[in-house]
Amino acid sequence: MSIQHMPPVGWLLLTVNLFGAALASDAVPWPSEASGELWDKVEQLIGILHTETGFAQLSPGVGAALREVPRPRFIPERDREAAFDNRPVPIGYGQTISQPLIVAVMTELLALRPGDKVFELGTGSGYQAAVLAALGAHVYSVEIIPELATRARVTLDELGYDGVRIKVGDGYFGWPDEAPFDAIVVTAANDHIPPPLIQQLRPGGRMVIPVGDRYTTQKLVIVERDADGTIQLHELMPVTFVPLTGAR
């Protein structure tokens, strides 16, 4: 089901959500001192993790995009205070918005340029898509839970990220009409990486897969497709952030 073919109930929900979002939009200012502190902390952690990730600092574009996108707006109101913590936050339906550190590392690893096409399997809150769009990428995102897709669409529209297209449905076969992609983000992998996604990765492109549970990203898997079609995998570990001690 596409967002364009939303039933009346969906439009009603959308209106309610928009109204709620409008009311809430001023409740948590962004950028703010708290958001600045959050991203300062994340950049500090990235410096500590450089042996695991292969880079010691975020590129200026990624850093700016992360600071630009208002994270609280992608979090349900009751947990919005946690938006300034470097931790995952529940967004309903058994899903979470990723930990800022993980979003930063994944975005950096994708090494995007403005105008790149990115496929995302698992829209979730829409936050990762917003960050990618803020970098100038065209994002094609598939979500299997209609309510999450609707909520993400509302938030992205309201914030003006029109470079993101969202589809509710089966992402196993990617988005063939828009393939190949310069990068692919798989946040909703089942028990295997769908081979069709590999086929839709442009030679030289990268796929990033966070592996773990809803609160802990245990490792990041990067799939690279060479020009001759061969693939290489890199596993970065453990990109786990534990609140008591910082990066591990």
Binding site: Y93, R214, T245
Partner: protein
């Protein structure tokens, strides 16, 4: 607190036997149903927590009766009737209410508020036990003349309740069973009102109205947490439930989806040229148990199965005709074996309901899986089947699936232990292979322990060069380990290399491989899997930890394959680096510690604090020695009793094939036999108390030794018997221990009553508190020290009782009072 006096008893004002039996039956049924509720809502049966909750309610009731018993005894009828009504009303109310609490145990590491939420859930769920215990405690307290009868009613009620519950759960769901509990409470209250000639119309009407209102407006429904596999599957667009039924083996749900169909293929190559077809997903208690595809001729192809890690044994080039698929679930590995050339498959699945789904409702879809000419299904545990079968196989296949988050750190699995692997290897042909598949973690944990276990099992079968008998491959999130009694030949090694290269799998271990071979496709900063495998299989390796993680073989005594924290090295890190590696601790262990803290605090608040705050009981009237002896005696009994009980439950789970059977049998068995032991001790004269205690402790010590040395052998030998016979054997085996364990409590009570009666409430309180904390702690302790050693420790705890000296020698009695 005073024991019942003759005058009170002679008035015949005690509640009826039937009322006590009903409350006792319903309370134990509620305790067992909680384990079902936990399994459906969260992720485990959490047996120890259900026991802890029951003890919390009973302990709080002991304190309550100690403080207010005199007033309550003045009106037994009103108290019993009202408490029975409250029990009935709160069973439904509290299970429903607890589900409204936004508990997410996994978030404890991030959100300390979850600890308070956990405590709230504990208090809510323990409430019905409090009222039930008030009924039973008051009944026992108010009648000396009919004490033995009431006691018998209490014990028989519990035993009958368990049997009736198990019968009910074969045909009905846990919700219906929970919804029936208020009726049992109401019936008990009504019987008591009639027997005691007290007719409280207002109470009856209000009670009935509350129960009816709950049934009408708060229909009982156990909802899986949003994080369960089932909840997520149902949230997807197009999801539809095709089957939803409950049975003794769990709640089975089959979900189909035409919009976003599931395509499960664990270990499918990134380079796969064939794709898995749309599948239905089968869930047991909300956890994904397997998938069912439509493999009818012309529908979809199963060709993708040759491009998964699980196809490794078939790539080896050895003839594979006879295959045993252990824990076959929905038969995916059965399909694979048949597709890849097996002539005949034995599929072993302990959950009959799962088999009924696969080869009943969906028999036509998977074709050959239910073809009796090619596949024999056995609905029993894998170890029981292999123990009874003399059959030999070319391939024994097993998969380990658990929550990759680490929540299963305290989940036991007796099918991947040293003893299990050794028995699998014994049933292989000389050229046969055993394969184990499972999910990977970084750093390697489960796979490392499985390698150590395989090495140990080979050694038990006389093979010391394990490295030549093992192959291990992996992809980005899964591994497969192949073990064979015969060494892997050069041509076979080449075949494995070809298989891995063609499908972009990474070599982790292959005899003769070099480190450079381990990072051809899947790169890590250092090839951790290879190095871990090399360490595990090296001739000189003797360690139990490897780089901060456990690397010992999984054993029947410590059957926790997912447990990975190596505490010795963890503590060493703190000492050397003055920092703790919190990320190195299993999440399940963290939650276990939080549960212990919560139970400890709540039991102190509900059991001990009231004694301290409301009445300075016993302080003035007892000497320090007697106080210390009382606390030690009842604390030891409380902790040791529960530790032994939970150790038995763990041990019998595999033997009986179902955690519900094991929990029910052990809880009812211990209650019954310990109750009989207690009653027997009460009928004997006080003069023999010390010798009675010595006798009990000797029996417990001997049975503890039996548990440590002989029980595993007996259970293995009897594993193939029918369920009723296994249950009878288990009951007979635990009866002497339980009988003896019932003796120290009344002996201690009698001693306190003689030496310092004012300490009686403290005796109850300390015992309750120790029991509650022990119930929560036992799984963690069992995982760390092993259930055999834990049983030994508990036996030592009992053996210390005579040394504590609460029942004094006859010549000392007058001096000590």
């Amino acid at each position: 607190m005073r024991l019942p006096d003759a005058a009170t008893a002679n008035r015949g004002t005690h509640p009826p036997f039937a009322g006590v039996a009903l409350i006792s039956a319903a309370a134990l049924a509620y305790e067992i149903l909680l384990t079902r509720a936990f399994a459906i809502i969260h992720w485990h049966h959490l047996v120890a927590i259900a026991i802890s909750l029951a003890l919390l309610g009973y302990g709080a009731s002991g304190t309550f009766l100690a403080l207010f018993g005199a007033r309550l005894r003045a009106n037994v009828a009103a108290t019993f009737v009202s408490q029975a009504w409250l029990f009935g009303i709160t069973t439904l109310l509290c299970v429903n209410g607890a589900q409204q609490i936004d508990l997410d145990p996994l978030a404890i590491a991030w959100d300390p508020r979850q600890i308070a939420v956990l405590a709230g859930a504990f208090l809510v769920l323990a409430t019905p036990f409090f009222f039930a215990a008030n009924c039973i405690g008051l009944a026992l307290w108010t009648s000396r003349q009919s004490l033995s009868g009431l006691y018998a009613a209490d014990l028989l009620g519990a035993a009958v309740g368990v049997v009736l519950l198990l019968i009910a759960l074969r045909t009905t769901d846990p919700e219906t069973a929970i919804a029936a509990l208020p009726a049992v409470g109401a019936l008990a209250a009504t019987l008591a009102a009639l027997a005691l000639d007290w007719h409280p119309r207002a109470v009856t009407v209000i009670g009935l109205l509350l129960i009816v209102a709950q049934i009408l407006y708060m229909p009982m429904h156990l909802s899986p947490s949003p994080y369960k596999d089932l909840s997520r599957a149902l949230a997807a667009a197009g999801a539809r439930v095709e089957i939803h039924e409950s049975g003794i083996g769990g709640r089975i749900t089959v979900v189909g989806n035409d919009v976003v169909p599931t395509r499960g293929a664990p270990g499918l190559s990134l380079l796969a040229t064939a794709l898995p077809p749309p599948q239905r997903v089968v869930f047991v208690d909300g956890d994904r148990a397997g998938t069912i595809a439509d493999f009818r001729a012309g529908s979809t192809s199963s060709a993708y199965l040759s491009q998964t890690l699980g196809a490794l044994p078939f790539a080896l080039g050895r003839p594979i005709d006879e295959v045993a698929v252990l824990r076959a679930a929905t038969g995916e590995r059965v399909v694979q074996a048949l597709d890849l050339g097996a002539r005949h498959v034995v599929a072993v699945e302990p959950r009959p309901a799962l088999y009924a789904i696969v080869c009943g409702h969906y028999a036509e879809l998977q074709g050959a899986v239910c073809d009796r000419q090619r596949v024999d299904w056995h609905t029993q545990s894998a170890r029981a089947f292999l123990a009874s079968s003399g059959q030999r196989f070319d391939l024994i296949s097993l998969a380990v699936d658990a929550d990759p988050a680490g929540l299963d750190a305290l989940a036991s699995d007796h099918h991947v232990t040293l003893q299990a692997f050794a028995s699998y290897l014994r049933q292989l042909d000389s050229d046969g292979v055993m394969v184990v598949e499972g999910p990977t973690r970084l750093p390697p944990r489960l796979s490392m322990r499985l390698l150590a276990t395989a090495r140990g099992a080979l050694a038990q079968n006389g093979i010391t060069d394990a490295g030549d008998h093992i192959v291990m491959l992996r992809d980005w999130n899964r591994f497969v380990i192949l073990v064979s009694p015969s060494s892997v030949s050069w041509p076979e090694r080449q075949a494995v290399r070809n298989f891995a290269q063609t499908l972009a799998f990474e070599l982790v271990w292959l005899p003769g491989m070099r480190e450079a071979d381990a990072s051809r496709i899947q790169h890590q900063a250092v090839p951790m899997f290879y190095r871990a495998a090399r360490a595990m299989l090296a001739d000189a390796y003797r360690g139990d930890c490897y780089q901060g993680h456990r690397a010992d073989a999984i054993s029947d005594d410590r059957p926790f394959p997912w447990l990975s924290t190596c505490w010795r090295e963890w503590l060493q890190t703190i000492r050397t680096q003055h920092d703790a590696d919190w990320a190195g601790i299993d999440t399940g262990v963290l939650i276990g510690v939080a549960v212990i803290a919560v139970t400890g605090v709540t039991s102190l608040m509900l059991i001990i604090a009231p004694l301290l705050l409301l009445r300075r009981v016993g302080r003035e009237s007892a000497g320090a020695g007697v106080r210390l002896a009382t606390f030690a005696h009842f604390g030891l009994i409380g902790a040791a009793f529960i530790a032994l009980e939970i150790a038995w439950i763990d041990h019998l789970q595999t033997f009986l094939g179902n955690p519900l059977y094991a929990t029910s049998l052990v809880l009812a068995g211990f209650l019954l036999f310990a109750g009989l032991g207690s009653a027997w001790a009460q009928r004997r004269g006080i003069a023999g108390d010390l010798s009675l205690l010595h006798l009990a402790c000797t029996v417990i010590a001997v049975s503890g030794l039996f548990y440590m040395l002989v029980l595993p052998l007996v259970l293995t030998e009897a594993a193939a018997l029918p369920l009723w016979a296994r249950a009878a054997i288990a009951a007979i085996l635990l009866s002497p221990t339980a009988f003896a364990m019932g003796i120290p409590f009344p002996v201690g009570l009698r001693a306190v009553q003689r030496r310092a009666p004012a300490l009686l409430p403290w005796a109850w309180g300390i015992n309750g508190c120790a029991s509650v904390v022990a119930a929560a702690s036992t799984p963690l302790l069992g995982a760390e020290v092993g259930f055999r050693d834990l049983a030994g420790l508990a036996a030592i705890g009992y053996m210390l009782l005579p040394l504590v000296g609460l029942p004094a020698r006859p010549e000392m009695r007058n001096d000590l009072i």
